[in-house]
């Protein structure tokens, strides 16, 4: 999957990803229309299907609102690459099927507007703009099992049967 980079700094919190004034809805499309609004007013206008968010430390800190990864996913973003993620955001993303990758070298070497080719099965991130290649930290085996089951809901479906 090839996409264009939208780059952010450290500590992007869930209040700027989706401000609480829009939490009176659970509709993914409506949430997406306000995604990142308080940190980048034009984000929802500029983002295209398949684009990639790249950020520094502690992405998704703050509230547990699942509306945050839902808004990002519904806005067309294919995956988020960061140095590390806040833990509730990490769990929520895996659970709803928003791919997230941890890779410090990639974050350092990628700039706003770069084009990336990301292979989620191998974790290989190719920067087509600079020609550099990176490899993301692999997921723990239990998380891979969850992903292979198609997310937490499908995993649980097997348990309640």
């Amino acid at each position: 999957m090839i996409g264009k980079v939208h780059k952010f700094k450290s500590n992007v919190d869930t209040d700027v990803i989706i401000p609480a004034r829009y939490l009176n809805t659970t509709d993914p499309k409506e949430l997406a229309s306000h995604c990142m609004e308080d940190i980048d007013v034009d984000f929802s206008k500029n983002v295209k299907q398949g684009d990639i968010i790249v950020a520094e430390d502690n992405f998704g800190c703050g509230s547990s609102r699942e509306h945050a990864p839902i808004a990002i996913k519904a806005s067309g973003v294919f995956c988020v690459i960061a140095n590390d993620f806040a833990r509730i955001f990490y769990r929520n993303s895996i659970n709803i099927g928003l791919p997230i990758l941890e890779c410090k070298e990639a974050v350092a070497g990628i700039s706003e507007g770069d084009e990336l080719d990301v292979d989620l099965t191998t974790g290989v991130i190719k920067n087509l703009t600079t020609g550099k290649e990176y490899k993301a930290k692999p997921f723990p085996s239990y998380i891979i099992e969850l992903i292979n089951d198609g997310g937490l809901i499908n995993h649980i479906k097997k348990m309640v049967k």
């Binding site: 500590n11 699942e66 509306h67 709803i96 239990y142 997310g151």
Partner: protein
């Protein structure tokens, strides 16, 4: 090798004798929690799992608190989704307005969480119950929806950081100041994925309200949970309230910590966290002179009766500055009633503060005190992110109830010593 209290609780709920950091376990849950913002998504997830019933109708709590009394039609619809679900599955712990409160103040007061419990909630401040010696942590709606179906969830055993608070607290220095100082010291990701265990002679003498405040803000340092070993103060709190049996656990002397942080509290002043991260902590003496237009006293962090008493002690016989809107929000309906019985409500109203019914409201810029462009608030809440209380060009300064009340009188950030 010994285990910490967090490891012991997770091991017990996973049905094993020993766990260590990095391991992933499936643990049984004593209570799962959702609110009016997170439960509607969780309810949809629950239905998608195909489960025919909830795992235990007595171990699910649904607390509409963020937008109540309903602030608009959409919010009213969300609360209705919660209400219908609670009725359909006969959920014991669904709280209507007449007995409601802010979830993390309400559930300990109602005796629904206790020492040794393993709890998840679809709200990041679920870590509050660590003050009772429970393992509790925030999750998202999908985790909650699945847990309502099966009564368990997966956890990675976190590394543990031990905080040792020693010395003697100065006047007006509270649990809020200790945790703001701690976050300032280690940063908003200083405890990322980790457990924060609060110990030391200062914690031993800290009241339960202060302990709840500290554990409540563990998430603001990225922590998975905050926890304090149960003692006689914990027992005094839970006795007569707790509706289940409990297990009082302590960390072993040879338990392993990835880091030990020692903090000398004798030198500590009341703290103020500057915009736009809780880690931007300074002494209150470095913050005087900053004018404010609003002071908020309440929230899951500082909405307990002890917090209300501090506000009343400072506002008694004084007047809120004419340029400040002072909004006081008791944590629960019962705390509101207690305030009225103790004469606190009258003191606050006479001072020119307004007293709201319990709600998360302004903490997340929802309602009951949203800020306009360029406005500044001092607040006893827990986050000061960009746009948190309203306009993206408004500012929130975090502090204790004593500092917020004193600032309301002064019209600028300041300490009760200046009154």
């Amino acid at each position: 090798m010994g285990m910490t209290i967090t490891e012991k609780i997770l091991a017990k709920h996973a049905g094993v004798d020993f766990v260590e950091p990095g391991e992933i376990v499936k643990a049984n849950l004593d209570l799962v929690l959702g609110n009016d913002i997170t439960a509607p998504i969780a309810i949809k997830v629950f239905e998608e799992t195909g489960a025919s019933d909830v795992f235990d109708k007595d171990r699910i709590a649904i607390v509409p608190d963020h937008s109540v009394p309903n602030k608009d039609i959409k919010s009213a619809e969300l609360v209705n989704i919660c209400r219908k679900f609670a009725k359909k599955y006969n959920i014991t712990n669904f709280f209507e307005l007449s007995k409601m409160g802010i979830e993390h103040t309400l559930l300990p007061d109602e005796g629904l969480v206790g020492p040794g419990d393993c709890v998840i909630g679809a709200d990041s401040h679920t870590c509050t119950y660590g003050a009772l010696g429970a393992f509790s942590t925030g999750v998202g709606s999908t985790d909650l929806g699945c847990a309502m179906a099966v009564g368990n969830t997966w956890f990675k055993i976190p590394e543990q950081i031990k905080f040792v608070y020693y010395g003697k607290l100065n006047k007006w220095v509270s649990g809020k100041d200790l945790i703001l100082y701690t976050i300032g010291k280690i940063g908003v990701d200083g405890a990322l994925y980790k457990s924060m265990e609060f110990t030391g002679e200062v914690i031993d003498v800290l009241d339960m309200a202060g302990r709840f405040t500290m554990c409540n803000m563990a998430i603001e340092a990225g922590g998975k949970n905050g926890i304090i070993a149960p003692d006689e103060k914990t027992m005094a709190f839970v006795n007569g309230r707790l509706k289940r049996s409990m297990e009082v656990l302590q960390s072993d002397k040879d338990a392993k910590y990835s880091q030990v942080v020692e903090i000398n509290c004798s030198e500590l002043e009341p703290q103020v966290s500057f915009p736009h991260l809780p880690e931007n902590t300074k002494n209150v003496s470095e913050a005087t002179g900053i004018e404010i237009q609003q002071a908020v006293i309440g929230s899951c962090t500082n909405g307990r009766i002890e917090d209300m008493r501090v506000a009343a002690e400072i506002l008694k016989g004084r007047k809120v500055n004419p340029s400040v809107r002072c909004i006081v929000i008791p944590g629960t309906h019962d705390i509101h009633l207690q305030m009225t019985r103790e004469g606190i409500t009258e003191i606050l109203l006479e001072a020119g503060a307004c007293v709201s019914t319990p709600t998360c409201g302004p903490c997340l810029g929802g309602h009951m005190g949203v800020l306009a462009k360029g406005e500044r608030a001092i607040s006893t809440t827990n986050r000061n992110f960009v746009g948190r209380m309203g306009h993206t060009e408004s500012e929130v300064y975090l502090a204790s109830p004593a500092i917020a009340a004193a600032s309301a009188v002064l019209g600028r950030i300041g300490s009760p010593e200046e009154l």
